[in-house]
């Protein structure tokens, strides 16, 4: 039986970055090639916001949010993904999050970043942190253009059987792994890991962390 490695799972949003994913979708939409598409795509992305805020199923909210990018070329997604990172996210990485990544690496853990943002936006973070694996959303492409659908499986909540399957595929030992999350939606990820930690959590996750005796780490402000 192959050796299983301990990992450190980081939910990017909240733990490593402050900006919500929907802003990336909105920014990409407003940078469409044609002026008319900028308005229609932004409107479509905006439909996802009430869903996200109303506590609807996060997978549905993610699907609706990214649906607005339908028709955008892969070239544009990749290049603007890098630009969005460089313009808005590169200076937004939380120092505490970076410290946690460094500590996890020193502890010999595989670094796994989990994000509901697009892989093309997150790739520079993977390179910056030297992460081993990225679990992020991918736009489904046909003929070099986004269909408007996210490729399955959609990353919204990440936990349960899907996390177990992922860990098995990658040779990760969940019971010896740490997981860092910041929102109630990350509870499934934290619950599956042997060493969960809430990082500057929202109200829901804070209550859960207290109930379950998970450590709570506050960000420097």
């Amino acid at each position: 039986m192959p050796e299983l490695h301990p990992a450190a799972f980081f939910r990017v949003e909240g733990t490593l970055l402050r900006r919500p994913t929907a802003l990336a979708a909105a920014w990409l939409a407003t940078n469409s090639q044609r002026l008319a598409s900028r308005l229609t795509r932004l409107g479509s992305v905006a439909l996802g916001a009430p869903l996200a805020w109303s506590g609807a199923d996060p997978t549905t909210a993610a699907r609706v949010t990214w649906m607005g990018l339908r028709g955008m070329s892969e070239d544009r997604l990749v290049i603007l993904g890098e630009e969005y990172w460089a313009t808005w996210l590169d200076d937004d990485v939380r120092p505490v999050g970076e410290d946690l990544v460094r500590q996890a690496r020193r502890d010999g853990r595989r670094i796994v970043l989990v994000s509901d943002n697009l892989d093309v936006v997150m790739q520079p973070l993977v390179e910056r942190l030297g992460a081993d694996l990225l679990v992020a959303n991918r736009m489904e492409l046909r003929g070099g253009r986004a269909t408007g659908r996210l490729a399955e499986p959609v990353v919204a909540r990440f936990g349960g059987q899907r996390l177990k399957d992922f860990a098995a595929d990658q040779g990760l030992d969940l019971s010896r792994s740490t997981a860092y999350g910041a929102a109630e939606a990350d509870s499934a990820l934290l619950a599956a890991a042997g060493l969960p930690c809430a990082v500057h959590p929202d109200r829901g996750l804070r209550r859960m962390a207290r109930d379950l005796d998970w450590p709570i780490l506050e960000h420097d402000r």
Binding site: N31, S32, Q33, R34, L35, S73, E74, D75, R76, V78, I79, L80, E83, A86, T87, G144
Partner: protein, 523 residues
Amino acid sequence: MIRQDLQGTHILLTGVTGFLGKVFAILLLQEVPDIRLTLVVRPRRRTQTALQRFEHIADTSPALRPLRERYGADLGRFLGERVQVVSGDIEKPRFGLDRPALDALRGQVDMVVHCAGLTDFQPDPARALAVNVAGAKHAADLAGYWKTPLIHVSTAYVAGNVSGDIAEALRPGVGPSGERFDVAGEIRALQEACRTPSKQTRIDRGQERALALGWPNIYCYTKGLAEHLLAQRTDIGLTIVRPAIVECARTLPFRGWNEGLNTAGPLAWLISTAFRRLPTQGEHPFDIVPVDDVARGLALTVAAVRRGEQPGVVHLASSDANPFTFERAVELTGLGFRRWTRKGGGTSADRWMRWLDPVPVAEDAPGPFAVPRLKRWARSLRKATARFEPAEHLPTVIADVFGDTVREQLDSLTEQLDEANTHLVRIEKMLELYRPFIHDNRYVFATDKVRAWSDALGDDEAAFRWAVPELCWREYWVDVEYPGLSTWCMPVLRGEEVPSDPPSTPPLRLEQPSTTLHELAGK
């Protein structure tokens, strides 16, 4: 294997002062042991001999950086051992070399590679005839005299005004329109048409003849005539190499290098200005090949000829194995412009312009900013400003106080509108020149030969690999082509200086060079 094929080969090369010729020479000098190059260089001025001209290029051209870095102060000795510069002019019979000089080179030269050419789309046909047609004939005469093979570098666009798959073949005496023609008669007729003193009339007549046989412009026409003329020769082993659109280098001499005005430069410049709607057929291939890949393809062809193969016609193009469409090119140009300005390139106006992406538009749906419409608006506005007389059209009280100021402002606006109109006329002419390639015709050039030669290369021969089928257009266009054009081509379009390297101290001199063929013949 290719290094063995080329080892010790002596090539007489024309066009080394040009874009492709430089890179081809550098590739051979870097990668082939004991290669010998005899370079035909025309003296530029009375004060600069052919050798001095070449030495100046070797000393200051950015293209020679890899050799300067590798050999440093020893470059003069290295070039002196490998390179022989001969003073010659391709427009003259046998390049202007006399018999003793020709005899001195007989038995030395293994092959003639004719890279020189005039690449303007709409040149004076008299010049195009002298350079593209007569130059090719003179190269063939030399190859015939020495009984060596000739590799003639042409263009893939001799295919003319046709659409579809273009085979690596030539039908001698048949123009792209399918019409049979007599090459010698056609050349005579063009010479006759060139007798008029008016350059514009010469261009119009040349263009007329080109279109009649199915070529879109004088460049393709004269390149085509040269091919048909050479195909009649039975005394030479002829290979025709047809590159498509030769653009910025991927790796050799270094990433992004370009020289002069190439096809994509003006287009990229155009859609980086306020003009953001390019009339093109988005799905048509934009057949780009990096210059170093063209040099590699040319080296593979030379090696094949050295092995005794007779390739006939060889295409060096991208449209069959890795097509890059105009739709992508337009979008990636905008994205490249955007990235370039984000990293500090361009003016503050450019940084604003990056938010407006260029788009391809169909000619039958040109939108509100089509060039003819903009011209009409500019003309109407100009008429209105010219007619407006403050004293006449404004109330007396206002005219008395502000009349002079208003007139000054209107005069300034009129000047700006004149400039805008001139600019629009230039754009319109440029789009007309490019139209056959970006809109009317859909070319897919077969590249079976170069791909087969490349596939047969060994692992240690990557320097010669034809990598176009694996080229990532996104990375190439945004990170190589656009920055390359910005550095090396767009200054030319703006009438600015292109960067060159400072000359070394003391200036580079080829050691023990044979300065001219006359001297060579005298030895």
